[in-house]
Structures are given as C-alpha cells and as structure tokens.
C-alpha cells in the first residue's frame, strides 16, 4: 500500500527526531551532563517509526532499555523525555525513572525497561485489555536479539498464541546483545521459533522503513481482526556502543561507517522518496531544521529545570497506603 504524503512526512520527521535526539544525547553524555546508563538507538529509527506509525494513541507498546526511539515514535513529548533523562523534577517520570524507565501510559507507552525481556509479558496484558474491552486495539512488544532468548519472551509469545492476543512481537535484531554477537548467543532461526509457537513470522530489512511498515500493516490488520499475534524480525544496526562509554572493541573497525554509508535508514528513505518523487528534498531539509531547533530547545529546557526535591523521594510508591 502506498503511504500518503502526510504519512511520509511524519515518518521522516519522527526518524529525524529520534536521530537528532540520540546524537545530542551522545554529545551530552560525553560531556558528563547525563547521569546513569544511556542506551542510544541511533541507526534503528526505521523499525521504531515503521512500526509505531501504524498505531493509534490508545494502542500500547513496551520498549526496551534502548527505548528513546520507541517512545518518540509513539508520540511521547520530546522535552518531557529530555528532562527525564537529565533527571529533572518536571521530567516525564518526575526524575525518578531516567533513560531506562521512560514511560507515558497516556500515549500507550508502557515503559522502557531495565530488565531484558521484561516488556513482552506486559504487552500481552495490554493486548488482553484491548481484547476484553473490545477496543480493537493492538499492542507491540519491542525486544532485542539478546532478549529474544529470555524465557519471558518465549512465554509471552506462547501466551499470545494461546489467548489469540493482538500482539505484534517486534524483534529488533541489531546483531549484538551488549558485547556478544547474535551469531554466538542464538544458533537457530528466529522465524522458525516464532512459527513454532504458532504465529506468522517475517524477516525484514530494518533499515528500510517501507519494508518494516509493510510487515507491520499486515500484522496490525491481523491483530485488529482478531487473528492473533504476529512476529516481525527487523534486521538493523545500532550506531553507538551498547551504552554510552562502551569501547565497542567487539566490532570490526569501520563496520558501522560502512552501514551508515550503505544503508542508513534516513538515507534509504530520502533516496526512495525523492527517486519516486513522493517528497521534495526541501521538505525534508525543512524538517531537519525544525527538529534541530526542537532538540536544542529541549536540552536548554532540561538543563534549566530543577531536580526533584527531598519530598519527592517519598511520594508515588503507592496510590494509597
């Protein structure tokens, strides 16, 4: 199916937003302005965006420790996220969560997760809510190749098949879990495994927004029609280290440079839409400029925001006690 001009512009904008967000965090991390662990998703924008552009606000996703891209693609507020990552009181989670726990249930974002494999069971719950309340909603579990081996992910896949839940399992296969290559940590075939649980599975080029999106459309349709879960394996790459500070000594020199040159998702997208005369380069340049301003402002705002106060330490544990 052909994406509309509006959809294309939105997709490009979201990818650019994520890319710039992450690249700026890379700089801010190096400068020491960001506390804690930061996992950047630059390079993987096409999967987050290609998937989330098919979702309604009320559809839910569960993200990973590498969750900024998922959150932004799902519509979370940039400034609020930036403040959270900087640990500020008016951040998305009041400064209590940080990068690894970005969440906004109002946007259907059920949270980044510090636990590898933590999200997929939760997403089955969101899908169960949609199914029980007959909202026509679907839910997406993002998880990495490393996470794909966790028992929780296997259990969630099985449960979604048994309960015929509208879940889309989106495996972002970036070739590494921390410093370990997927080729070591997983010896089989992800599609076969998913099919082994009883759901349709497809592998796509995760750098190609169109391919991801096409697979996602089919999966969402299945979900909304009550035909149960689907599995999408997006082959992708992360451009930075596992976390900020990682030496990436496990990677061959120049590997990522080559990926960027040959298959960067922004580049592929631009090429495709201009060649097919779907969008003008100028439209995208405009977006680039706009996003640059947004990110700059978000960082300025985040830096100017106050940290949580002593009293904040003790609130928000229970609704009532």
């Amino acid at each position: 199916m052909q994406l509309s001009r509006e959809e294309l512009l939105k997709a490009y904008r979201d990818m650019r937003l994520i890319r710039d967000f992450e690249e700026r965090l890379h700089v801010e991390s190096a400068a020491g302005s960001i506390p804690g662990f930061v996992h950047l998703s630059a390079g993987e924008e096409a999967s987050a965006v290609g998937v989330c552009m098919e979702l309604r606000k009320t559809d839910c996703i569960a993200a990973t420790h590498r969750g900024h891209g998922h959150a932004l693609a799902k519509g979370c507020d940039v400034t609020s996220m930036m403040k959270e990552i900087f640990g500020r009181r008016d951040g998305m989670c009041g400064g209590k969560g940080g990068s690894m726990h970005i969440a906004d249930l109002d946007q259907g974002m059920m949270g980044a997760n510090g636990i590898v494999g933590g999200g997929p069971p939760l997403v089955c719950g969101a899908a169960l809510t949609a199914k029980t309340l007959k909202t026509g909603g679907v839910a997406v579990a993002f998880f990495g190749d490393g996470a794909s081996n966790q028992g929780t992910v296997a259990e969630a896949m099985n449960l979604a098949c048994v309960w015929e839940l509208p879940v889309i399992f989106c495996l972002e296969d970036n070739g590494y879990g921390e410093a370990t290559a997927t080729s070591f940590a997983f010896r089989g075939d992800q599609l076969k495994r998913a099919e082994g649980y009883g759901m349709p599975a497809v592998r796509v080029n995760g750098h190609d927004l169109f391919e991801v999106n096409e697979a996602m459309r089919e999966a969402v349709e299945r979900g909304r029609n009550g035909d149960g879960p689907s599995f999408i394996q997006c082959m992708t790459h992360r451009y930075y280290g596992h976390f900020e500070g990682d030496s990436t000594a496990y990677r061959a020199e120049g590997e990522i440079a080559k990926v960027i040159e040959e298959m960067d998702c922004m580049m592929l997208f631009r090429k495709r839409v201009t060649e097919a005369s779907l969008l003008e380069p100028e439209q995208m340049d405009e977006i680039d400029a706009e996003i640059a301003g947004i990110i700059e402002q978000a960082v300025v705002d985040a830096k100017a925001s106050p940290p949580p106060s002593a009293a904040d330490l003790l609130t928000d544990v229970y609704v009532s006690y």
Binding site: K96, L128, L133, G151, L159, Y318, S320
Partner: protein, 337 residues
C-alpha cells in the same frame, strides 16, 4: 450471615467483585481446568484446590482465563492488563513458584508507579497459596511473604480466617496498588460466620483478637488461630494475652502493635516463615525501636528452624510453630524478670 469456609469466602469475594465491576477478570493455571480436554467441559477443576469453582459458569471464558504453565508470562500479562484498564486477579498456584516470575511482580508491577513518576495505576491482585502442613515438601510449602514485604510498591495480605479472607480480598481487588494475597492452604477448610453481602476490611489496620494484660502475641495467617488457642488456654490460668493479627504486613499497623506492647510490656511474635529477615524480626525491630521503655522482657520469636520444609509428616509437624511452642514462649516471657 452464614457459616462459610475460607475457600468459600475467597470464592465469594471474587464472585461479588466480578459482578460489581466488569473489568475484574481472573486468570491462572486450571482456575477452570479442562480447556481443550477431550471431555469438552467448561470447568474440570475450578482451581487445583477448588477455590475458583463456578466462576466460568457465571462469567464466561472471556473473564475467567486458564493459562499455560508460564508464570512470568501470565503474571506479567496481568500486570500489563492492570496498567491499561483491567483489574485482574491472577493466581500464582503456590507461592513457592514465585522464583520463576518474581521479576514481573517486584521489578515491574511493584515499581511502575514510582519509576514512572506516579503516573501509573496498577490494580493487580495476585492470589497465592502458602504454608506448610500438607506434606507437600520443600518446593510447595514455603511462606515467602517476607520477601514480598521487603519490596516497596507491593502490598501484602495474610488473611487468618474466612471472615478476614472475604473482606480483605474484596479490599485487595478494589485497591489500586499491586496486592499479593496469601491464602494458607491449611485454612481452606476452616469455617466461621461470614456476611453474605460484600464488605471490605481496610489494609493496615490490625485486628486485636484477644485482650489481656500480661503479654502481647503478634501472629500471622494460620498462626493467629494457634495464638488464639493459646490465649484461651492461658486465660483459664490467669495469664492474659493480647493477640494481634496485623492482617497486612505491608502496610503494617505498627501503631496498634506498639500500643499493645506498651500495655502488656511483653511480646511474642509468631511467624511461620523462615526465621531470617522475616516478619518476626520485622515486628521485633519495630517494637524495640518504639516501645523500648515499655518492654519488661526480651521479645520472643516463635518461628520454624532455618531449614527447608521437610516432607515426612513427623518432622514437618515439628517444623511448623505449634500451639505448644507458642505457649512455651508466652510462659517464658511472662516468667521473665
């Protein structure tokens, strides 16, 4: 009002809450039983010990869900459903199985609210069966509520009788926080008067089941029965026991416990859980920090030994704190000077 068993009280609480609120659903392994089975029945079991019998007949398969044997999967799903609009009651068949799904309970459900800056509401109830006495050996007899009590973000409930079970479970289901509800397997067949209409018992309000001047006994779950028995027996001898059933270990009604100890000056804590970092130590520490001047004798803790739960009946019975051991502790504390 009529005589009901603890099992019936739990069942009735669920039924009445499911009637009241359409978003209440239940799930667990064989809470119905028979799914896909060749007999083609809707309910082959109604729970492994029959606690959830009859639910599917009234509420249908959409609200009464059997699960595969994947506790992380379905307890996590219950947490996710709770965060997105349902009010699930998930059954972890035996508390001992928490080892395969603890993350979804204490790192996910229990932390949503705090780590998301107060913006999540997770009205999840996890029902689970605990305790020794069934000759079920070391992987099916543990108490484990101390490790849940340790976790911020979780509420922990230990109903000690049928009346308590109904009121506390209705409260748990209505509560907007994740609640872990511990049903003692040796209590299911115990009976007492239980109102037919729904009622709640608030969390964090201890129940003083006996009043006496000489010693305070704080006990949990099944141990409340034992403590009451001891109190009744000793009363005849002129030893007055105040028995406190905290009902919930988190939140804990420390005030009532402290007040009682201030009155009696002596304390015995009875906890069926393993002795290290358990509720006995928790209560003891609370009291010695807050009722120091009132204490006339060392606090005595009655707990099992620091061993797994054994299989053979003869030694399992020695493992569990008994009325005899409680009585001896009370006598020791009362006799101290």
């Amino acid at each position: 009002m009529s005589i009901k068993s603890y099992r019936e009280a739990v069942n009735e609480a669920i039924v009445q809450e499911m009637r009241r609120d359409e978003t209440v659903i239940i799930m667990g392994e064989d809470v119905k039983g028979g799914m896909g089975g060749s007999a083609g029945v809707d309910e082959a079991w109604g729970g492994v010990l029959g606690v959830t019998k009859g639910l599917v007949a009234e509420f249908g398969h959409d609200r009464v869900l059997d699960t595969p044997i994947t506790e992380s999967g379905f307890i996590g799903a219950a947490a996710g459903a709770a965060a997105t609009g349902l009010r699930p009651v998930a059954e972890l068949m035996f508390a001992d199985f928490v080892g395969v799904c603890f993350d979804q309970i204490f790192n996910q459900a229990g932390k949503f609210r705090y780590m998301f800056g107060g913006k999540a509401v997770t009205p999840l109830t996890i029902r689970t069966m605990y305790g020794a006495g069934m000759r079920a050996a070391s992987q099916h007899s543990q108490c484990l509520y101390p490790i849940f009590t340790h976790m911020p973000g979780l509420k922990v409930v230990l109903p000690s009788s049928a009346y308590e079970a109904k009121g506390l479970l209705i409260q748990a289901i209505r509560d907007d926080d994740p609640v872990v509800f511990f049903e003692h397997k040796m209590l299911y067949d115990t009976t007492e008067e239980v109102p037919d209409e729904p009622y709640t018992i608030p969390f964090g309000e201890a129940n003083v089941t006996r009043e006496g001047d000489d010693v305070t006994i704080v006990a949990f779950g099944r141990m409340v029965r034992f403590a009451n028995k001891v109190a009744d027996k000793l009363e005849a001898e002129g030893i007055g026991c105040t028995v406190v059933d905290p009902r919930t270990t988190s939140p804990l009604d420390g005030d009532t416990i402290i007040e009682c100890v201030e009155d009696t000056g002596r304390l015995v804590v009875v906890d069926e859980a393993s002795p290290r970092c358990n509720m006995a130590t928790d209560i003891s520490a609370l009291v010695s920090a807050n009722a120091f001047r009132a204490l006339k004798a060392p606090i005595k803790m009655v707990t099992p030994p620091h061993t797994p739960v054994p299989f053979a009946p003869e030694i399992e019975d020695l493992y569990v704190p008994s009325p005899e051991k409680i009585e001896a502790a009370v006598r020791e504390v009362v006799g101290y000077s």
